[in-house]
Symmetry: C2
Subunit: 118 residues, 2 copies
């Protein structure tokens, strides 16, 4: 497993600014819980209403706000099904993010500190 990341090819396309945006998006307890619930929901996704119950956010407008931020950074998608909106985690995005982070820190303690370049 984890084979799709060892190629490192996808990591190159990510810049610091975008990574920072995604980390910031995930860096709120409320949004991290939202994203986690979405990830756990898997391919099927979750309607906003169910997401609200599961995550425990009192105001619907607050949840909508956080969802919007998650969508802006490309971490979450929404699809309309009749009157309800299905929210889904975008797995490749998380995959790239993890790849970037793992690439930065070599992902284990044997990191040799390769680069001196800026």
């Amino acid at each position: 497993m984890l084979a799709s990341r060892t190629g490192v090819g996808n990591v190159i396309s990510m810049n610091v600014e975008q990574v920072a945006k995604q980390l910031e998006a995930l860096g709120s307890p409320a949004r991290l819980r939202i994203y986690r619930a979405l990830v756990r929901a898997g391919h099927a996704g979750l309607p906003v209403r169910q997401l609200q119950e599961r995550v425990g956010i009192s105001a619907a407008s607050t949840l909508s706000h956080h969802l919007h931020r998650l969508i802006l950074t490309g971490l979450v998608s929404q699809e309309r099904q009749a009157t309800t909106l299905i929210c889904r985690a975008i797995y490749p995005a998380m995959n790239d993010l993890v790849g970037f982070l793992a690439d930065e820190c070599c992902a284990d303690e044997t990191c040799s500190g390769t680069g001196e370049a800026a």
Copy 2:
């Protein structure tokens, strides 16, 4: 490689709140650049002054502020050497963080969406 994470044992000990704090700490372009520079510096670490030049932050107080935040979340350590402070990335912390994230999203598209549990 990446073997130290596949055990998943370390991931269990992390809670959402702490992960969110670390992600938030990394979620600022300035702090992500700082952390990146530290990671690239490797085991030797970097004095604050050199870090400032390398990252391109104008005010020393601003850098100090960001450094403090990074330290509070356990991502960075400082060690005094005479008059200069050496800053170092704490690799295991990043390792755990990446592990948590990877565990959440299964780290590749074949994620089967296992859990329905809250």
